[in-house]
């Protein structure tokens, strides 16, 4: 089965091509093509995963580009991480496509939407299957385009336009880092293949400074894609895209690609402790930073977006503290519950046509299905015991503790408190209390939207049981199988109090939110005053956007304008100086031509005289 794995990304590509070439003619039927193709991919991925349990890593490649004596190849590889990711990606994609059938109903460019989704799924699956860094980079950029297209799906909205552009450019900055990283790595190791690179890394033929530099450059790519500080600003804006897109791309899959990249290159990072440090610190900072912003946002999707950033920070933190399994595990569980949250939020938005939390409330009774589903997701992300988020977050805390990075551990604990708080703030503001909505009729979403959510909710609940301290660490053992030396332990062990504390912290967060937003025992301004400096800073996301705008934005623009002056006056001026001096010479020449014949003779005579004088003075020895 694994030799046919290349079909997995091909199916969505077929969707893309068929839908694009058909123009808008297929209309709603486009959804079926998309869903069927993705289903095929999913089934195939599942088969591949099952087969992978038994068989070793599968790898095949063909010559793709040759220069000089070097052959670059293209192909695919099925290892543990890939196989897992394939299933996650194709599953979430499938569910989101089913969901979209209901959510996007009535949209004029319905089939184009599915085409884009197909394209994105193709790119994401291709990214996951890449056996070498170059191919990874190729699909890395393609997922960026998919994201760009889908964010800008409502092309006539100016915000969507700006958001799409911003997403592309911000990630592009990261991509450039990645590109440099893999180029440098190529010249150090002579290959883009993972295996050969890891061998070279282990043999110690690369100096540690170089290694650190390369690892950090590659990490910059991950930072861009995964919305880590300081390249995170595009992700909240990306919420301008349709909500299913946010669920698929900006929660479950693409943004996780950064984490995936670090995980895939884990042996490289392991070889440089400085790089690991950078990864961990960036992750930790991002986690708490985004969580703090999420506490005050008013837009449902933005809260979720910052939550995503924060969770991705968590994963980076895990990876940076050698918690390979923890990071990948959280990546998987997060994919399920965050997709669920987005879809559920989408369902709410679909019902009341607003994203502003202030205008919601009291929806619990009206949305009988969506409410509990959202709650499931919220509990999972908050780390409520026995749900998937609980196990994976636990694993991360353990990893941080075990690694001895106590400061980061502390950050993680605080962040999980904040997470529980802001998620339940969100939940309570939406579903509890009285309705603040202007919408008269609030209808539950159609069945076709509920099914995917149910599926995700199920996964969000049970997804954690493949890696627990109690029922075995199946995932971890499988992931690191055969690579223990490179990837570290299959499970992080830590004191029991960590787990207890994690539970307490998240319950505390939930309780606080309950007290403020449901019981109203505590004023909303209990923590920070609404118009205080701190609040304003948080509300304006630490003014990062503004800082970028006023520094980089203006600098580039200013420099461009400066150059256009150079273009006009210096480059252009040089040319016009030459031409005008030639013309001036011509003017002088024709002025001399007075029409006076005797003057002509005089000039001629002078010419003769000059020649003779020079000859006479030099005695003919002028050379």
């Amino acid at each position: 089965m694994m030799e046919h794995a290349w079909l997995i990304p091909i199916f969505p590509l077929v969707t893309f091509l068929v839908l694009l070439l058909s123009g808008g003619r297929l209309r709603d039927r486009g959804a079926f093509i998309g869903i069927i193709c993705t289903l095929a991919s999913f089934v195939l991925s599942l088969l591949v995963l099952i087969e992978r349990f038994k068989e070793p890593t599968y790898n095949i490649s063909i010559d793709w580009l040759s220069f000089g004596g070097t052959q670059l190849s293209a192909g695919f590889e099925i290892n543990q991480l890939n196989a897992l990711m394939l299933v996650v990606v194709s599953l979430v994609s499938l569910l989101v496509q089913i969901y979209s059938k209901g959510y996007m109903k009535g949209e004029v460019r319905f089939s184009i939407f599915y085409a884009y989704l197909g394209f994105f799924t193709f790119a994401m699956l291709g990214l996951v299957m890449a056996p070498n860094l170059l191919q990874l980079y190729i699909f890395w950029e393609l997922v960026g385009v998919g994201s760009f297209l889908l964010i800008g799906f409502y092309f006539y909205k100016l915000e969507a336009k700006a958001a799409a552009k911003k997403a592309f450019i911000m990630t592009r900055i990261g991509d450039v880092g990645l590109l440099i990283g893999i180029i440098l790595l190529f010249w150090e190791t002579g290959s883009f293949e993972y295996g050969e690179i890891f061998q070279a890394v282990q043999s110690g033929m690369i100096s540690s400074e170089k290694l650190t530099l390369i690892a950090i450059l590659i990490f910059i790519g991950a930072v861009g894609k995964s919305g880590q500080f300081p390249l995170h600003t595009w992700l909240p804006d990306a919420m301008e895209g349709p909500t299913p897109v946010s669920a698929l791309i900006h929660a479950a899959t693409m943004v996780a690609a950064g984490v995936y990249l670090v995980a895939a290159m884990f042996p490289l990072f392991m070889a440089s402790s400085a790089a690991m440090q950078v990864v961990a610190i960036t992750g930790g900072i991002t986690a708490i930073f985004a969580a703090s912003i999420a506490m005050v946002q008013k837009d449902v999707k933005r809260v979720l977006a910052y939550s995503t950033i924060s969770q991705l920070g968590f994963m980076m933190l895990a990876l940076g503290t050698s918690g390979y399994v923890a990071g990948v595990f959280h990546l998987m569980t997060h994919a399920f519950f965050k997709a669920l949250l987005f879809l559920a939020a989408g369902s709410v938005i679909h019902a009341i046509h607003t994203q502003d939390m202030e205008k919601m409330g009291g929806l619990w009774r009206k949305l009988n299905w969506t409410g509990p589903l959202f709650l499931t997701g919220t509990l999972a992300i908050s780390g409520f015991p026995l749900l998937s988020g609980f196990f994976s977050k636990d694993e991360i805390l353990m990893a941080a503790w075990e690694n001895g990075s106590y400061i980061l551990f502390g950050l993680a604990v605080v962040t999980s408190f904040l997470t529980a708080f802001y998620m339940f703030r969100l939940f309570f503001m939406m579903f509890a209390g009285d309705s603040r909505s202007q919408a008269e009729q609030v209808k539950e979403s159609p069945f076709i939207m509920l099914i995917p959510m149910l599926a995700l909710a199920l996964l969000a609940v049970i997804g954690g049981y493949i890696q627990t301290p109690w029922f075995g660490t199946f995932l971890g053992e499988w992931l690191v199988e055969g690579n223990e030396a490179l990837l570290g332990a299959s499970h992080s062990e830590g004191p029991v109090w960590i787990m207890l504390m994690a539970v307490l912290v998240s319950l505390a967060g939930i309780y606080l939110a309950y007290m403020i937003y449901v019981k109203k025992k505590l004023s909303r301004e209990w923590l920070v005053k609404e118009n205080s400096e701190v609040f304003r800073i948080l509300e304006n996301k630490y003014y990062i956007d503004e800082i970028y705008h006023f520094t980089a934005g203006y600098a580039i623009k200013g420099f461009s304008i400066f150059l256009s002056y150079i273009e006009r006056f210096i480059v252009g001026g040089l040319v016009s100086t030459v031409t005008s001096s030639i013309e001036g010479l011509g003017k002088v020449g024709s002025k001399l031509q007075t029409g006076q014949v005797q003057q002509y003779g005089m000039i001629a005579f002078l010419g003769l005289a000059v020649l003779l004088v020079i000859f006479a003075v030099t005695g003919g020895y002028l050379r």
């Binding site: 002025k591 031509q593 007075t594 006076q596 014949v597 005797q598 003779g601 005089m602 005579f605």
Partner: protein
């Protein structure tokens, strides 16, 4: 024979040539200009004849040359005057500095 050296003739010719050139380049009247040109040609004739007599290797050819030159000078003067006449018919002037219809 006589004590007049070659250089004297050459200087004479040079002076004559210069006078001719000066006249040709400064006089307003076209007739005088033409005459000045004749003067220059004749200066060359003096040279030729002088060289023919007192040159490094005296020979008769110099004198033959000067005969040709004289003829040609005459023809040139004739042509010049003819052209001047037709100019005068059209323009009623013989002043060289008024001939500036074409310039620049």
């Amino acid at each position: 024979m006589t004590g007049v050296p070659l250089s004297a003739y050459l200087v004479l010719a040079l002076v004559l040539f210069c006078i001719g050139l000066y006249g040709a380049l400064t006089k307003r009247n076209a007739v005088i200009v033409l005459i000045s040109i004749e003067l220059m040609l004749n200066a060359a004739n003096i040279n030729l004849v002088a060289f023919s007599k007192f040159g490094v290797t005296p020979s008769i050819t110099g004198q033959v040359f000067s005969l040709f030159t004289i003829t040609i000078a005459a023809a040139e003067a004739a042509v010049g005057l003819a052209i001047l006449m037709s100019l005068y018919r059209n323009r009623k002037t013989v002043n060289v500095d008024e001939m500036e219809m074409m310039k620049n």
